[in-house]
Assembly symmetry: C2
Homo-oligomer: 224 residues x 2
Amino acid sequence: MADPTNTREIWQQRWAREPQQARSALRWTAQLDAAQALLEEEGLDAVTVARVAKRAGVSVGATYHYFQDKQALIYAVVDRFTREAAERARSALDPARWEGASLMEILEAYLRHAIKVGRRFRGTHLAHKRLAMEDRHVAEHLASEHRAIHEPILKLLETRAEEVGGAEPIRSIAVALEVLWASVDQRLSNHAPGTSSRVARLSDERFIGELLEVARAYLGVESK
Amino acid sequence: MADPTNTREIWQQRWAREPQQARSALRWTAQLDAAQALLEEEGLDAVTVARVAKRAGVSVGATYHYFQDKQALIYAVVDRFTREAAERARSALDPARWEGASLMEILEAYLRHAIKVGRRFRGTHLAHKRLAMEDRHVAEHLASEHRAIHEPILKLLETRAEEVGGAEPIRSIAVALEVLWASVDQRLSNHAPGTSSRVARLSDERFIGELLEVARAYLGVESK
DNA sequence: ATTATCTATAGATCTATAGATAATGC
DNA sequence: ATTATCTATAGATCTATAGATAATGC
């Protein structure tokens, strides 16, 4: 499935036919839903065309009518998911909604939200990471969607740059955000229950508290 | 291949026969080498029994003589790799070798080493992460090997606890180490060249510098 | 007329084993 | 006698298509 030399413009129009008619749109959606549910519940290897078709209540032939091939189906699922996530981020990060909130309050809200969403869509998130490993088109697509989510957060945080000490507050904010994100991402991805580290055994609350302390210290924000 | 309900003691004796004789040991090693090279160069999906056998210069039948099944072969590769890594860590972290080094100097050496090794064995590292996603036995094994590497580092760092400010230096050190590790891990895993974030575009040197500043600020170590 | 859908299956790929043969060690 | 190895192939699984039939929209 992974073909690194593929130069087609896969993210433009690789699916055979995105439906115009209402009735077909239902089935189109049903197939994406089925594929994503399999991804979430059982991981990437569980996504076979036959299982997607069955779960969506159509035949394999019908699925190949909608999607040029299996790769196009997977791409469509990833694309829909990341598009929706970016859309949610854009509306949640409207600066007007954060009037009066401090830098640290915004970071705290971000951490809580990231952990909540990461738990909710754990399987999909892991599957996306794996697809990114195997297919550079997916990697680029996910990276660009990730930027589409992080850019508005950075923009919002940068309006609080005067709270930050040091010579380069804008860059420091970017570094802090990536460090927090990496730490959360790792916490959500790993899951060896018995053998986990001291830090993994902290509750979410304490974990968030420590990460905020990391950010506060690095950014030189005064404690209240 | 992934069978979450598998309760056999796979890490004890799942391979059919680890050889006693010198000549067989060569072939045993050749097969692990072949599998690991495929893992490193082309990823997990490239590891088929036929390709491993061919690359090791034996037949498929011979491979099944050495390994009960494909899973046992993969496990043996992971096991050897993590064992060697833990062994290297133990000798590198002998406290006697770090006489006179400060906490921050040790952290810096750790970061440089982690980035170097991570680049060198990128494919293997990614494959291990993916195996951990798919197979909880591998996840537990990797987590325990990871602890085997991080424990000596923590022990070493803890001998410098008096350099650290705050009420709970031991815990702070553990948190700092995990945050740094997560940040490095993410930098090494991601690789969307054109679309990468501001932080990903920093040079290794500056990246290390920023992470050290994160740790220094959080741990309350005085700047020199 | 065109679009949507189904059943049935060809073709590719991979794991694992059967059965025969060669090499090794007491 | 036992261990190591090979060739050949059965059996499982999956993608994708061919060819026939049903539904839809001008």
